[in-house]
Amino acid sequence: MLQIPCPWCGIRDESEFSYGGEAHITRPLNSENLTDEEWADYLFMRKNTRGAFLEQWQHAQGCRRWFNIQRDTVSYKISASYKVGEQPPQGMGNEK
């Protein structure tokens, strides 16, 4: 049972949140110029990182805000929490 730090409300139990998967996937604007493969890359392909991972959560039973956290997908430890539109703390990223 995770405890998730909502940047708006503070630390709350996991059961108040819903999951949104990988963060920082930007929707392509010029989608008609993309090949099927390029579109599929946006649509389906995921980093699915083992280790430090930037991901989205919504505080569904709280402020209903979406936000990002960095969580280790093995230890489940959360090392950062930041608002949508903010950049992850330095040195963090889903590079792969």
Binding site: M1, E32, L34, W39, A40, Q58
Partner: protein, 1002 residues
């Protein structure tokens, strides 16, 4: 009957005798007894049969580690399978019986298995029962019947189970010396403390210890300390509570047993309570378990753990034997010997594998006439249902072989100690990696990963003095970590120092037989795993400890290998010529001790507690009218309203005819409703829906499709423009919550530049759809302030007015193709609005209808239901609804519609189906084929998504998704049914009624 009760005090209450029944026979025990201690007091040693070989088994231990004494408690609705007699508190009238034996415990038919045990080593079933192939299920039947221990209840559980959440600063698990001391320390610092222990009384080993604290018996210190703790406001004491799981983020699950110790008639309130605790800091003071020794026939009744023997004598005042031999490899059994002597029992000999184990106690024992036979081992015991002698041999120098002749010593009890294993289960579950300690011959808790620390015996500290000081340190530290200051007044109690000599590990006891031959030397008694099984697994190449566990079933029992696993791993290590840390341990998994399904399920059961029921404002009315209900998501919706003597079909036919011929009314409150406001609302809808929204006039309505980004239909509904920058969206009933979240997500994460505000108003409004040619007359009769003239209030528009003086919004939209108005009022006025409409409609015989008629009416018009006519693989184009898909703007899912597969020929398309015989109604989910006589597998070209008998048309209609369906109009296809019948149908347009759409425009 022999009475083994001693004179000594113990912790039983002799003023409260309790009667109980075991295997049909009546016995008496005392308050404070466990079922095990009461049985032993009555000289009942044979209590069980083993799982595989049905060997007679007695009580081995005294607590959670007990592998043998598994009983069925009570009968009928209150029965409990697989109770451990050592943990069952005795109460008046308790009934228990042995499990897994037939016809009885004394004579058990399947003990014949013992004779064939040579044929049944570990994994024998993988090697046989394969021929003839068809007989396997019969073999399996026999195997299954022989497996299992207790019997499942046959009736539903009458008891209630509760759950509670708790937060604390310091959670202390285990109330032995270390735990009590930790609680005292943290409690004095004013930390919020929870102290939990699985036993009915706090004190742990001190409840049966001979030691003194501050010059008084340890038991006195326990009561004083408990009293002091109970007086502290921030300290919560939880006896009879097993912490069984240690999860991430210091989340600990604890099962509290509330009524199991009470007589059947006095059990009131919940039976168990599941505590879900988030602790800032955890102190694990879970103690240690004694290991048995692995020699031939070590499973016979009368062979017991040394600590258990001491506990039965001191705590329960039970003499478990009269002439006792002790077999040990460490000093702790000498304390047992002292205890036995003090109780006036006869200790004949102590067999010790060590050379001259010269503790101070040894000298004292010798002086009292106890023979100490060093450098020796017990190689076998005599007696089947109760031992009568042990066989002892000397060890060769080096200690791994026996030598000389066998010495037989008559006795009725063998107390054994193979050393101690700290209970590191919870520490391991928390993520700490256990590490092997050669000196202490045990696994110790690893470096903490979470905010926890171990203290006392669970930390490998086996003497009282150090347990107390470790406990105090742990309590101080844990509370300090939570921001509290150490209370300087706390003092360590004064106890005698005891010097222990080093243990000499003895895993597989050598004997005159070659290892693995000779009588079985049991490692895991519950699962009948012997040392030879582990050696066999190793020999066959199962080298990983996990493979050995899975191959032999070592540690898979209800005791989860609490006493057998370490011996088993050590024997495996020996077989593989590794050291124990190389072999490693299997994973310690929750639950530490088994927990009822009832406790974990809690009260979320049966009806509304399983999942909340959502009811509309008119629910009571529907119920009164005798509606049958359908679950739609969490909602209860009227399905149809049968009148006396009507079948479902009769009712639906009547409702459909009445609606199309006069007027019907349906409760549409459950549809999702979302207000979208802000200057970019139109732009947002443009991106969300497949069609365009910015040019919609105020008070006009438009139908829209929402796609997933994969281009597949996700939801649909009508949205109304209320103001320049305000829209009112309808979603499907099931879509209300997910669509709302979907919209929030896009707004917040992808398009934060849009100024849009969302409000979910599904529950704010009660909605009645009044449908049919007379609907205008009905609605206008109850509604003020609106001009209902067909031109003034045209189809697909919306007006505000008053119903009974209450603000109302009337939408002229239709899901049936009829003239129809949806009347919305604030939910609290829903019933009043509904009743007004019913009254106004009386002269037109207004007919309430449910979801089934709604489905028929919309199908007559070919309107799709998302989730029924679509399945996540259907695009709007597949539904023949390209008209709703903009070619000029981007929207969610658009790019996907142009993928290779979405534009190919031959995709499934929505069509109508008319059965050749109009009275045949196709089954929804029927598969469509071209040639029903083709050989299997028969190619399928589509399936029936919706199908009904249409009373309005006088024949059945259906909708279907068919490959290339739109270019197959008029073709005959076939729908083979499960019963062998085949129904033929013609592909048609999916609009069956009023194709030109005139009726909704009148």
């Amino acid at each position: 009957m022999k009475n083994n009760r001693l004179q000594g005090e113990g912790r039983i209450n002799r003023n409260r005798p309790l009667n109980f029944i075991f295997n049909g026979k009546s016995y008496q025990g005392f308050e404070g007894d466990t079922l095990a201690s009461a049985l032993l007091a009555n000289d009942v040693h044979l209590v069980a049969r083993s799982w595989k070989y049905h060997r007679p088994r007695g009580i081995l231990g005294s607590g959670a580690e007990e592998p043998n004494a598994i009983v069925q408690l009570e009968k009928g609705r209150l029965t409990v399978p697989n109770a451990r007699a050592t943990q069952v508190e005795l109460y008046e009238g308790l009934q228990a019986s042995s499990v897994n034996c037939w016809p009885g415990l004394e004579f058990d038919f399947l003990s014949i298995n013992s004779l064939f045990s040579r044929l049944m080593p570990s994994g024998f079933y993988y090697k046989t029962f394969m021929w003839p192939k068809k007989l396997w299920m019969s073999y399996e039947h026999v195997i299954r019947k022989a497996s299992g221990l207790g019997v499942s209840p046959e009736l539903p559980d009458p008891d209630r189970y509760e759950k509670t959440y708790a937060h604390c600063d310091v959670l202390i698990i285990g109330a032995g010396p270390a735990g009590l001391m930790a609680a005292l320390a943290a409690g004095k610092m004013s930390a919020r403390v929870m102290l939990v222990d699985e036993q009915s009384e706090f004190g742990g080993s001190m409840l049966h210890s001979n030691e003194t604290i501050n010059g008084q018996p340890a038991q006195d210190w326990v009561s004083d300390t408990c009293e002091e703790l109970a007086s502290m406001q921030e300290v919560k004491l939880l006896p009879r509570s097993s912490a069984f799981g240690y999860h991430d983020y210091n989340f600990v699950t604890i099962n509290e047993r509330l009524t199991d110790h009470l007589p059947t008639g006095q059990k009131t309130g919940g039976r168990e309570r599941l505590w879900k605790v988030r602790a800032k800091q955890v102190v694990l003071a879970t103690g240690a378990l004694e290991r048995p020794l692995v020699f031939a026939n070590n499973d016979r009744p009368g062979v017991m753990l040394s600590s258990a023997v001491m506990q039965y004598v001191n705590r329960y005042a039970v003499a478990v034997g009269q002439e006792i031999v002790i077999f040990t490899n460490n000093d702790s059994a000498y304390e047992t010997a002292m205890t036995l002597l003090e109780a006036g029992l006869k200790v004949i000999a102590i067999i010790d594998n060590r050379i001259n184990p010269g503790s101070s106690m040894a000298d004292q024992l010798r002086s009292e006439g106890v023979k100490i036979i060093d450098q020796s081992v017990v190689v076998d015991v005599k007696g089947s249902k109760r031992i009568n002698a042990v066989q002892v041999m000397s060890l060769q120098p080096g200690g791994d072989k026996v030598t000389g002749s066998v010495q037989t010593i008559a006795c009725d009890l063998l107390a054994m100690s193979g050393g101690w294993s700290p209970v590191i289960h919870l520490s391991s579950q928390s993520g700490a990696k256990a590490c092997w300690d050669d000196e202490k011959a045990c696994f110790l808790p690893g470096v903490p990963i979470q905010h926890e620390r171990s203290a006392g015996a669970s930390n490998g500290c086996f003497d009282l003095k150090n347990c107390l000081s470790e406990g105090m340190l742990a309590g101080n530290e844990a509370a300090q970590q939570c921001g509290f200051e150490v209370d300087a007044s706390i003092q360590l109690p004064v106890v005698n120092e005891v010097i222990f000599n080093r243990i000499k590990p003895l895993w597989l006891v050598p004997s005159m037989f070659k290892a693995g031959r000779g009588p079985k030397q049991f490692v895991d008694m519950q699962n009948d795993v012997a040392a030879s099984d582990i050696m066999l697994a190793a020999r066959e190449g199962y080298h990983s400890v996990e493979h050995v566990k899975r191959y032999t079933a070592l540690g898979f029992g209800t005791d989860q290998g609490k006493i057998g696993n370490i011996n088993g791993m050590a024997i495996l290590a020996q077989s593989l010529q590794q050291n124990i840390s190389e072999t490693g341990t299997t994973t310690f998994r929750p639950n530490y001790t088994p927990v009822t399904i009832g406790s974990i399920a809690g009260m979320n059961l049966g009806g509304e507690l399983f999942e909340p029921v959502r009811k509309t404002a008119m629910h009571g009315w529907h119920k009164q009218e005798g509606a049958e209900f359908e679950n739609v998501g969490q909602w209860k919706r009227p399905w149809y309203y049968p009148r006396a003597g009507e079948s479902m079909l009769d009712a639906v036919n009547r409702e459909c005819l009445a609606t199309r011929n006069s007027v019907g009314i349906i409760d549409a409150s459950t549809l999702g409703k979302i207000i979208i406001e802000g200057k970019d609302s139109g732009e947002f809808l443009n991106r969300l829906y497949t069609n365009a929204w910015k040019k919609l006039d105020i008070n006009k309505a438009r139908y829209g499709f929402m796609l997933g980004e994969d281009g597949m239909v996700m939801d649909d509904g009508v949205t109304i423009r209320l103001e320049e920058n305000k829209y009112f969206m309808h979603t499907t009933t099931g879509g209300a919550a997910p669509v709302f979240s979907w919209m929030e997500r896009w707004l917040q994460t992808e398009w934060p530049e849009l100024e849009v505000f969302l409000t979910s108003v599904t529950d704010h409004w009660a909605t009645a759809a009044v449908v049919g040619p007379n609907s205008r007359k009905v609605v206008s009769a109850v509604c003020e302030g609106i001009d209902f003239d067909a031109q003034a209030f045209p189809f697909m528009s919306s007006r505000e007015g008053l119903v009974n003086g209450i603000e109302a919004r009337i939408n002229r939209i239709s899901f049936s193709g009829e003239l129809a108005y949806e009347v919305n009022v604030p939910a609290n006025y829903g019933l009043q609005m509904w009743e007004s409409l019913m009254a106004a409609g009386e002269q037109y015989d207004i007919t309430p209808y449910g979801t089934e008629s709604m489905h028929v009416l919309r199908a007559e018009k070919g309107y799709v239901i998302v989730g029924q006519d679509t399945d996540g693989s259907v695009t709007p184009v597949d539904l023949g609804m390209d008209w709703v898909v903009s070619k000029v703007k981007d929207f969610i899912g658009r790019r996907s519609l142009y993928r290779e597969d979405c534009v190919r020929e031959g995709r499934k398309q929505l069509v109508g189906l008319l059965t050749l015989n109009g009275s045949d109604v196709l089954p929804e989910g029927g598969q469509i084929v071209e040639d029903p006589n083709a050989s299997i597998p028969i190619p399928m070209i589509g399936h029936v998504t919706s199908s009904y008998y249409s009373a309005n048309l006088g024949y059945s209609i259906a909708m279907a998704l068919v490959k290339g369906g739109l270019s197959r109009m008029g073709e005959t296809v076939h729908i083979p049914l499960a019963d062998g019948k085949v129904i033929a149908a013609k592909i048609s347009s999916s609009i069956f009624y009023d194709a030109d759409g005139e009726k909704q425009n009148v």
